[in-house]
Assembly symmetry: C2
Homo-oligomer: 434 residues x 2
């Protein structure tokens, strides 16, 4: 258990702006107790740093870190998402417990290093022994996150079909969840298993192509009973939409909207090819969307209709997904830049007052925390003491003022300017000084 702390950085991000002279009181349970010009002297000063809420990565498949540099060569690197998936399945079939652990740790270490303090691990690679349905890799993810010290939301994924109405094949058998009953038993076991101060569990029907309709409905009922977040891959690829229309008569997002009570606990991952009409239905129900700009660029998914999402007042969060590259500031930058390339205009994510950077930051903090159901994403009393300390002396930030810092950070810097991170009151240095 961490001791109580009073933290003061040169600048602290509170209420959408950087301010000097802010002290943050952290209690022994690792939560923020008070924020402001507190009378107590700081126990920890960051003279050369700016303090931000730690970034929240709402969508990760940690094991895919093992494809780095591998998923880009002939034949899988030339083609499409679907050829890439073959490389990913080959990786899946090759992993034992030790390798899975190493890949998870590699991914989580890199996440912390770029300022990510919470990861939503959308975890479908359950089994070391596919025949035994051992769920051994669920434990591996939990242990790896605890060892690295990153906050974890384990989005336990349900995966039963290898396409609508098709059996699992090859590597997919390692994803298998045989029934909703067996799966919810596992969810209950995981909820008992996790470390409650830094870990929690949520429910993730993998996709409409991997979950039979009746199971999807039952899973959402279980999530409702437990008040857990629900994440689902929706409309990342045109072929995914087409196959759903052919089999079920509507798009995946429409199918979900028509069959389960979509609400604020729901997050659609990608929604790259969702039309404005169904996006509006989804978002007006209070559900959110998670975009994964680097992975969507890497996989050639296409560019989502963010203006339609923003017009509906949508809660948009951010994920590193395949972890091909881990840098949350780069994710934020290309969240906006991909939209600029699409629309040939600037400031797509700017709010009504023309403020861009604060709105972008919300995606990687407050919106991600809301999507994962964790008290993180802001430097406010009651939230977890999850911070990222930015090195103001870093060359990429030379010349910044308190007013331009956030935009410089998001549009012009990267993980290399992160000096330390804090998860639940525990600090970790992530790089030496230059």
């Amino acid at each position: 258990m961490a001791a109580e702390q009073i933290i003061e950085a040169r600048l602290t991000y509170v209420d959408g702006a950087f301010a000097p002279g802010v002290r943050v009181q952290v209690d022994a349970a690792g939560r923020i107790a008070a924020v402001g010009p507190l009378p107590q002297p700081p126990t920890r000063r960051f003279e050369g740093c700016a303090l931000l809420p730690g970034f929240v990565n709402a969508h990760s498949h940690a094991f895919q870190r093992g494809l780095r540099g591998l998923g880009e060569s002939y034949p899988c690197g030339v083609g499409s998402f679907w050829t890439w998936r073959e490389a990913m399945y080959a990786l899946v079939e090759s992993l034992d417990r030790a390798q899975m652990r190493r890949l998870c740790e590699q991914a989580f270490v890199e996440m912390l290093a770029c300022g990510i303090t919470t990861v939503g691990e959308f975890h479908y690679l359950h089994h070391e022994d596919a025949g035994a349905l051992d769920f051994a890799f669920d434990d591996v993810v939990i242990e790896a996150a605890a060892a690295v010290g990153i906050r974890l939301v384990l989005l336990a994924s349900y995966y039963r079909t290898g396409g609508i109405g098709r059996p699992l094949a090859g590597g997919q058998r390692r994803f298998a969840t045989p029934s909703v009953a067996r799966f919810t038993e596992q969810v209950d076991a995981l909820q008992r298993r996790v470390e409650p101060r830094a870990q929690s569990v949520a429910i993730a029907p993998h996709s409409v192509r991997a979950v039979p309709p009746e199971d999807f409905i039952a899973l959402c009922r279980e999530a409702e009973a437990r008040q857990l977040p629900v994440h689902v891959h929706l409309e990342e690829q045109r072929r995914e939409v087409e196959e759903c229309v052919a089999a079920l008569g509507c798009s995946p997002m429409e199918w979900v909207l028509d069959h389960v009570p979509v609400g604020p606990r729901f997050t659609a991952i990608h929604a790259t090819h969702a039309t404005p009409a169904r996006l509006q239905r989804w978002l007006l129900a209070g559900a959110g969307v998670c975009l994964c700009p680097i992975t969507e660029g890497n996989l050639g998914d296409g560019i989502a209709d963010a203006p339609a999402m923003l017009a509906a007042g949508g809660r948009l969060c951010l994920g590193t997904d395949s972890n091909v590259r881990l840098d949350m500031l780069e994710e934020l930058r290309w969240l906006e830049f991909a939209q600029r390339l699409r629309s040939e205009s600037r400031g797509v994510f700017a709010d009504a007052a023309g403020r861009l950077a604060p709105r972008l930051l919300e995606s990687a903090t407050r919106c991600g925390a809301a999507a994962l159901g964790v008290d993180a994403g802001a430097i406010e009393p009651g939230r977890h003491a999850d911070f990222v300390a930015i090195d103001l002396e870093h060359p990429s930030l030379a010349g910044c003022t308190a007013e331009t810092l956030l935009a410089a950070l998001i549009l012009g810097s990267g993980g290399e300017c992160v000096r330390e991170v804090c998860v639940g009151g525990t600090w970790r240095a992530v790089r030496g000084d230059r």
Copy 2:
């Protein structure tokens, strides 16, 4: 003058692949004398590093580094390239010699830190005193590059009109080149002024909108006489194309093709909105194109038709342009990713054998060197001893083999994995260890 060196890294990039056991002999003039399994013992070992040719940044406006964090707020950050340009002009009007020097140094320091060893500085901000046409900032750029230790190609830019047939206005007067005669006098003076081992001069008619037709033709004649590279901004923005069609009856690229002898010394910057037909004419003439993915994303230019460029066998190089973000690996990654988003397929830059990363790397090395007319961009005898030493222990490269390293580097890492750089035989550490 540097002493003769024999360098051996764990891996060295030669002939399109990483190999162990390669020694590189560097002569006292800072050039590569020999490469291979040389008998001489190394004077410098990089046990934990891979050696690549230093990156060549073929297009930069160093002073725009001063806009970092500033070009993203209301009103200039919300709108278009043209509203952003107003912010850039405001910066232009504010700069004195000391500020210009500081911004150039900031940009060049960041370039070295991410592995860029040569910069093509497309330099149009000539004057401290616009009334006196003093060309004072030309010296500033030369001095800043020498002080930082980066190889410089000063692309002296000609800028005479504030739009086709329109006089210069406001900040543009600091760009003024009053006549081809006065400009070529300045080019000759710069050629005498530069440090010949690390600096050279080229000619850059700014754009068809900023150079009167007869001056453009005369400049290309002068460049031909001096055998200098010619760089010109072409077709970055739709409005630029439309205004040219309205005024001159054809697009900017077509106008250049129709009026000057375009050939291998020519490079078009951006060509975002060039059609396949004119791109084919341009590239079949042997001229190249310089793409600037991060800036084009930041400015919302749009996505160039790289498949058409590649189909014509085009020499494509890479620039950091506005320097809003300085990371050459991120530039390379998004060169490919922007194309994937546009085409919804993967491996756009892959060669006929399906090799992606080596082809991408050529853009940032050999093709850039060719565009700038410098003997750099490859670890080969006769070339400048310009290297980047990649830290193989960096977490972003964990798990790589010699075969997957280049793809992991380009698709999954960034400037933070650069440990040291070498320009003309002189080494510089750019970061401490983690």
